[in-house]
Symmetry: C2
Subunit: 477 residues, 2 copies
């Protein structure tokens, strides 16, 4: 870094206008403490550009003066990707003021947006035009679409609508040298040359800062049905999933697996919540079917339920009779996550497996965790239709250092098992900084070389989001 801090602040103040630079400790707090509240990082300074051009101006300035940069959206990430690196000071670019919906085309089913638009704002804007932006996740009230794109966000509706990557038609990116790449095409089909946008989606800001996107919308479903079904086992849940995919002819938009232990965490978080059933069952499935047009959804859900009952896959079920009942069922899933949070530090993972391996993995992994730490509680649930499990472990009360060491051992053992099952250690949260080491350890030399080469091509000075996905100093092997 060739400049001192006052010079940097002076440049930013000149170019970003009122409120464009934040430094005082009280205001900076929300940029520096991560969503889970247990990690902190201090940036050089927080810059808040309002336009793509302003982002480009800051990045070019950093490039000229060899200043590290990290972008931040809603700061709801779970792997420390947007958290500033205190050891190597970074200028933080918050996209929060770059938040206009640029345009919406209902016939083309597309919407052009700034990267700083909040996901819920995008969903609401689409809905007002009888369209639907399907990305749905817990943080949607505060996460930003630029962050969703940079982390290739997933969530509840991936089964039907795909991940963020499938929902991006065009992209605008400020490259690490400050140039703007304008790839804002609103085309459903474009096969001309390398698809550059694919490189930036999911790259966690290491190859450039996403400043705008053209999103793919769907027609707004006008009806939905939600059901909570009680099942005897994980195996039954997988059979039911297979059945439901065929029976509901692609109208299934969510299929969540919730073992009993998870449901109990929801009751722990909100003790007034009634158990939807009279009896405790081993496993539950929460599913959504949505459609527009003249389809009889009630009969679809009821027939699926009846077929499950008669084959023994399903033991009992609650079909939501109204939107508010449906919301209550989904509320249980939210409370379950809240219940986990309250238990304090725990192993939180985000793995994926071939769907056909889930039952075996579940058994093996539970056994492995129990062997390593009999007092721990496995809390594993997930988006079964995507093969995505949040296989989490709540440790027993221990001195802090012992607990950390235990969680580390459990993670290592779990990730080994994931690799043995040809799974992924990150299905949707990404790699960021917290999973950088275990991720890198899974790569072949060829992969390490290709990734490092790509990073070097876009960011030869190693200034942008350094230490995320790739190691701090690329290993040349």
């Amino acid at each position: 870094m060739q400049l001192d801090l006052p010079e940097i602040i002076d440049f930013l103040t000149t170019h970003l206008g009122d409120g464009g630079v934040i430094r005082d400790p009280a205001s900076v707090e929300r940029y520096t403490v991560d969503w889970a509240g247990n990690r902190r990082g201090d940036p050089l300074v927080v810059a808040r550009p309002r336009t793509t051009h302003e982002v480009a101006t800051i990045v070019a300035f950093c490039h000229r003066n060899v200043i590290r940069v990290v972008a931040q959206g809603g700061h709801t990430g779970l792997v420390g990707g947007a958290l500033p690196d205190t050891d190597h000071p970074e200028l933080m670019i918050s996209l929060e003021r770059l938040n206009r919906v640029r345009s919406l085309d209902p016939l083309n089913l597309t919407m052009a947006v700034d990267a700083g638009c909040i996901l819920q704002q995008i969903k609401d804007t689409a809905e007002a035009e009888e369209c639907f932006f399907p990305l749905s996740l817990g943080a949607q009230g505060s996460c930003q679409i630029g962050g969703n794109i940079s982390t290739n966000a997933g969530g509840l509706n991936v089964l039907r609508y795909g991940m963020m990557r499938q929902l991006v038609l065009g992209l605008e990116v400020v490259l690490p040298d400050g140039r703007i790449w304008n790839g804002m095409k609103a085309l459903h089909k474009d096969n001309s040359g390398y698809d550059l946008k694919q490189l930036f989606i999911g790259a966690e800001g290491t190859l450039g800062i996403v400043t705008g996107a053209v999103l793919k919308l769907s027609p707004r479903p006008s009806m939905s049905r939600t059901a909570l079904l009680a099942l005897p086992s994980i195996e039954a849940a997988l059979e039911l999933y297979d059945q439901a995919r065929r029976h509901c002819c692609d109208l299934l938009s969510a299929f969540e697996l919730i073992p009993r232990a998870c449901l109990e965490l929801a009751f722990e978080a909100a003790p007034q919540t009634p158990d939807p059933f009279d009896t405790a069952y081993p496993v539950y499935v929460l599913l959504d079917i949505t459609a527009s047009g003249p389809v009889d959804l009630d009969s679809l859900v009821e027939q699926l339920f009846e077929a499950g009952l008669s084959s023994g896959q399903v033991l009992d079920g609650v079909l939501a009779g109204s939107e508010s009942q449906a919301n209550q069922l989904w509320k249980i899933r939210e409370l379950m996550v809240e219940g986990q949070q309250r238990r304090g530090e725990h192993l939180r993972t985000d793995i994926s497996l071939p769907i056909s391996s889930i039952a075996e993995f579940f058994a093996d992994a539970s056994h492995r965790m129990a062997t390593l730490s009999p007092e721990s509680t496995v809390i594993a649930y997930g988006h079964v239709g995507d093969g995505n499990l949040h296989f989490n472990v709540l440790p027993p009360a221990l001195p802090l250092e012992d607990q950390k060491a235990l969680l580390q051992r459990l993670e290592t053992a779990l990730f080994e098992l994931v690799e043995r099952f040809d799974g992924s250690i990150s299905a949707e949260h990404g790699i960021g900084r917290t999973k950088q080491r275990p991720y890198w350890a899974t790569l072949s030399d060829t992969e390490k070389e290709l990734l490092t080469g790509i990073k070097h091509l876009f960011d030869p000075q190693q200034l942008m989001a350094v230490g995320r996905i790739l190691p701090e100093i690329p290993e040349n092997e």
Copy 2:
């Protein structure tokens, strides 16, 4: 090139076994003349490996000895990508013997295949397991999945199931230096690091040779309905599309626009074909709705038809009452393409536009073509739901050189218009060699630099599929 031909042949013969090397002119014909039959290119020699390892051995040999390589699948491409370059001799690697289905997992809805598997073989294999591989295109009886992946193939069902890119979960690639990248994961969700496979999909073999893939399957639809509707105008077709997307709640799997002039080409190709209607109408839409499970498709189609009739979007319609009637309707679309072929050399394009611009583009482009060449006939049809038009022009009878010059002028004028409408000059066929120049002319300096950088990273010696997508000698600007 440091070796002479006998040395190359000797190496190949030693490593590829019986039938692994083809040289005699009669046998080599099908590799050297392209699908349309009007372009030809002679390779150094045709190598036919049977395994990924054999592909890697050949590529490593070429890398060591600075021999150019081009891969070929079913050789049904339309832009000369797999056609050997006679001016700069290339060793051709035909993937046709690398054609095993490696595995199929019905619960995970995935299938692992060799690159040389023929698309129809893959579709049939999936169907036998009650699964469905949705990629559907005219050449499916001979095109190979490796070519489909390398060109990011589209076809008829993109509207519902996406292009090839959306149907690939895992990939195996032989890199230009002969190393094998194994990315054959069968995961529906994987968010760990840069998604390397995206680089190879649609790269037309310029970054590596795809040797295997894990494909994403869908549940097999058990019912389908096909309808041919007659409409007053392109505008009405777009309104109907909007209506159909909402009304058919994502069960619409094809929506083809066919103006009258195109229908007449079908009758020209097969004069015994009856006009499905008593009267000639300006525009037709051919649509498919498919589902499995208890959905009343008849009522879906009938209600769409009735609504169209009463709003005036639809003037008349034929709903296929049986599979054979449905096939007859689709046959008309095939014949239409055949009718064009019979007219000889013509301007064949594959553009895409925002769906909301199609009507205006159609009018502007037709006017522009008529101004430039009043005797030409515009034959424009396409996958409206993808914004993808085959805007083709049949020239009048002219001396060959004059005709070529005319077609060139028409193409240039059309592509200018496409750019003005923020469209793409290639929605599905790709760039290959025939569109390399007009494509490159649309790029910004930043894009040219990034593309060239990526090519250089993977293939620094410029040996693989040279001259496809990127210019022969990358421009450093």
